[in-house]
């Protein structure tokens, strides 16, 4: 008995010891439980020790199991950070009981509890402390599980930053508030566009004039918005910025609604057209392998925006109201967004032979096509809709490209047109001084985000301003500004962290069944289009008959009209039946495939086992009989 008791004791002891040495093997394809190289590299650069305080109300009685499991995952992840940091990161796990010092500390550190249906608060957050810097994740939402590693790495990275990162801004679009012409004394200047205040919360914005010769030094991110008249030298500086491995955001536009409006005003006031409706960076794009046509605008019948105009509600097929399905779910800048609005955007393609890692961030639907930007001003929306020829493939409206880029200036820095004794050039802390040679190719992988519209950045298309009890209040119309700040935050963070991708969110579906569904859909799509066309024809026919009738001033339906309507009804019914049959046969096809597979699984193995059994048992009986006969 004593021996058995000893065995139980050994069992408990061995398992207790094993629990002290977390070691594991991650067999998943995407290594979802393993820290990525980006995080390891970031941890390797920590100089001062970082303390992580993980607050979780583990002892709460009514704790939902969803939180308990996720907290275990989070804690294991944090322990991996500790072991990968080589002692530079330490972890304290704290269970803040109600009305204790720990609870007060949690609240003071910014960890905000969520209230359970039972009324009890649950703390589930993280605080990172380095010297006097402190940052927190107020609450770990299980919905953000795919981005857990990014969030924690970003937090640890943020406490090591003492200065705000610098965002260079080269903009041909007036994002800064302008002095209105003929301003009266005492009149308020126009405020900046809200996107700037979004960006300035996390970045120090450094404005760069389009006519500048060089970029200021030490820019962490550069944004080039609606480039108009950028000189050779600045183009060279932008090129070198990307090639040096620093992130770049470019927003170009085949048809700037803002400048079209200005143009109309100027035409009226002074009778002169204004430039600036389209923007492009042809020289840089062609060497970087970015294909973009500044004269083509993307229209999409599925994403058309309804706009209140003088003549009622009109549907604008080139104003794209983008839904969640059009925004990439597995990458951070777009994962949490729901809607966006882009005004007359273009499309971007990336050369396939460059070996880039290409991530489309925003895409149109496959029912999109292009129209010439020139046409938009004098073509009614309905006519534009008719002109859109669907290419059957979704178009990229915003895309992230990562890889090694080739310089647009392989022969080095272009000769400057202005004399070098210009005071600006001297004063500017030049990023590419005479001493440093021009890069012909990326020295470190660079990240480039290209967006094919610029109007989305403006307040007019992103927020609604309201006057609330004499206070100006702003309400977002869509997630345009979130996209702007997400992209800049993402790119401006640690370059190690850019490589961290969302994990475990990729759903693995039955591709065979999906292909069957798509094939069937294509079939009835063709039928549907046929039906639509037939309906139009008949409508035209009826209209023609009716105009003929109107001439004769007969108001009752003539036999011809009735016949045409009848013919149409019969045909419509036939087509609807055939669509129904395609759907039915698809469902039957899928079901019969599933049934066949189920039956195969249920029968084959048992039959093989029984057959083998028979062979074994009968053979054995024979041998026994023959040996007993002897």
């Amino acid at each position: 008995m004593a021996a058995l008791a000893l065995l139980v004791l050994i069992l408990v002891l061995v398992n207790y010891l094993a629990s002290q040495f977390p070691a594991r093997l991650d067999l998943t394809k995407e290594n979802i439980y393993t820290l990525s190289d980006g995080t390891r590299s970031m941890l390797g650069k920590i100089e001062e020790p970082v303390v992580l305080q993980f607050y979780f109300s583990r002892s709460l009685e009514s704790l939902p199991i969803r939180f308990k499991n996720y907290a275990t995952r989070v804690e294991e992840m944090l322990r991996q950070y500790v072991s990968a940091s080589g002692g530079r990161v330490t972890l304290r796990v704290i269970d803040p009981q109600p009305d204790t010092d720990e609870e007060t500390a949690a609240r003071r550190a910014g960890v905000t509890p969520q209230t359970l249906p039972t009324g009890e608060p649950i703390y589930f957050g993280l605080v990172a402390i380095q010297a006097d810097q402190e940052a927190n994740i107020a609450f770990f939402s299980p919905n953000r599980e795919p981005f857990l590693e990014y969030d924690v790495s970003q937090l640890i990275h943020s406490v090591q930053q003492f200065d705000k990162p610098r965002l260079g801004l080269v903009s041909g679009l007036p994002l800064r508030g302008q002095m209105p012409m003929g301003m009266m004394p005492g009149q308020q200047p126009q405020p900046d566009q809200l996107v700037l205040s979004q960006w300035s919360s996390a970045f120090e914005i450094v404005d760069v004039d389009e006519s500048a010769e060089e970029l200021p030094a030490n820019l962490d991110v550069l944004a080039v918005i609606h480039p108009q008249n950028i000189g050779e030298s600045l183009l060279f500086a932008i090129d070198q910025h990307l090639l040096a491995g620093r992130p770049l955001i470019v927003a170009v536009d085949p048809s700037s609604y803002f400048f079209k409006g200005q143009q109309r005003q100027n035409m009226m006031m002074m009778g002169q057209p204004q430039q600036g409706v389209t923007s492009d960076l042809p020289r840089l794009f062609s060497s970087w392998g970015i294909e973009y046509n500044a004269s083509e605008v993307v229209g999409d019948l599925d994403l058309a925006t309804s706009v209140q105009t003088g003549g009622g509600i009109t549907s604008f097929p080139v104003w794209l109201s983008l839904r969640k399905e059009q925004l990439a779910a597995e990458v951070l800048p777009t994962s949490s967004l729901n809607t966006m609005l882009m005004i007359e955007p273009g499309s971007i393609a990336v050369a396939e032979d460059r070996g880039y890692e290409v991530t489309p961030l925003v895409q149109s639907t496959p029912r999109s096509g292009t129209v010439a930007g020139m046409m938009l001003s004098f073509t009614p929306p309905a006519e534009i809709a008719r002109q859109i020829k669907s290419g059957g493939a979704a178009k990229n409206l915003a895309v992230m490209v990562r890889g090694s880029f080739k310089s647009a200036f392989p022969e080095g820095k272009p000769a400057t047109t202005t004399s070098t004794d210009s005071e600006d050039a001297d004063a500017a802390d030049s990023a590419s001084t005479e001493g440093s040679p021009a890069l012909a190719e990326s020295t470190a992988p660079g990240t480039l985000v290209v967006v094919s519209d610029t109007d989305w950045l403006l307040d007019d298309f992103s927020v609604r301003r309201m006057n609330f009890l004499g206070m100006q209040a702003v309400e977002p119309l869509n997630d345009n500004l979130s996209f702007a700040s997400n992209v800049v935050d993402f790119l401006g963070g640690s370059q190690d962290l850019i490589t961290i991708r969302g994990k475990g969110s990729a759903q693995r579906t039955f591709t065979v069944i999906r292909e069957m569904e798509t094939a069937a859909q294509e079939r009835y799509q063709a039928e549907l289009e046929g039906l639509e066309q037939r309906r139009n024809e008949i409508q035209q026919e009826i209209q023609k008959l009716q105009t003929q009738q109107a001439d004769g001033r007969v108001l009752i339906a003539s036999p011809e009209v009735s016949q045409a309507l009848e013919r149409y009804r019969v045909q419509e019914a036939e087509l609807r039946t055939s669509i129904r049959q395609i759907r039915l046969s698809l469902r039957e096809g899928i079901e019969s495939l599933q049934n066949r597979l189920t039956v195969l699984n249920a029968l084959v193995v048992p039959l093989v086992v029984v057959a083998l059994g028979c062979v074994m048992l009968v053979g054995r009986n024979r041998r026994q009989k023959s040996s007993s006969a002897k």
Partner: protein
């Protein structure tokens, strides 16, 4: 060592000389098919993974393993062949190990007979094979600890039915411990650290991480240590 090998062969092939083994294999497969394809509707979920199937594995084992393990010693005791066995030049320990390994191999075959499920899912989509293999490894390791318990139960009695029932009861209890309802229930009258410690002795908790594609040292140690300890107890029981 060689005696273990010889005994293992005798025991392992012994299974296939009786029709009962085939019935158990077909029964296990039938039950697995029923749970995976009809209860969990593996093919209707449009998800290329076997998670819907592996969630049943502990429950399948609760039935299969006691059935495979009940005769290990009870049968020898009843038929009186146990004395005969110990007249052979083998130690109790090697006999226990050999019988255990034979039964483990038999159960592993039963588990691997469900591999066509994985091929079916791979035919329809692109599953993460890492997760599938880790689930199979987890299943086979978990089978070892279930079997250790059932082998011990079988050594305690000469009646196979009693051995089956003891094995089933203990396995069921150790499976249940990890379920939320049970830990919630325990939470009402036990401090949470006791509940956590008790939950850590559940098959479910350890197996669950393996079905997510994670082979955790703690889970491997848990399953193997439980098997080793129950086999040591088995030896002690037989020798007394």
């Amino acid at each position: 060592m060689s005696s273990v090998c010889t005994l293992f062969k005798r025991e392992f092939f012994g299974y296939f000389r009786s029709p009962v083994a085939y019935v158990v294999l077909v029964g296990f497969h039938g039950l697995a098919t029923l749970l995976a394809f009809f209860v969990s509707r593996l093919l209707k979920g449009n998800e290329a993974s076997l998670a819907a199937f592996f969630q049943w594995m502990p429950w399948l084992f609760v039935v299969l393993v006691p059935a495979a393990g009940m005769r290990l010693w009870a049968e020898e005791r009843r038929a009186g062949t146990i004395e005969l066995l110990f007249t052979l030049p083998v130690t109790t320990t090697s006999a226990v190990i050999a019988k255990f390994l034979a039964a483990w191999a038999f159960i592993s075959i039963a588990v691997l007979l469900t591999l066509p499920f994985a091929f079916t899912v791979a035919y329809l989509g692109d599953p993460d094979w890492g997760i599938i293999w880790s689930s199979y490894v987890g299943s086979i390791l978990m089978a070892a600890s279930y079997l250790g318990i059932c082998s011990l139960a079988s050594a305690l009695t000469r009646n196979q039915v009693v051995a089956f029932i003891i094995g089933l009861a203990v396995c069921l209890m150790l499976t249940f411990l990890g379920l939320n309802v049970v830990s919630d229930l325990m939470n009402t009258f036990l401090p949470y650290w006791v509940v956590d410690a008790v939950s850590n002795f559940s098959f479910y908790t350890h197996f669950e991480s393996m079905t997510r594609g994670l082979i955790d040292l703690r889970a491997v140690v848990f399953f193997l240590s439980l098997a080793v300890i129950t086999l040591l107890a088995n030896v002690i029981v037989l020798e007394h």
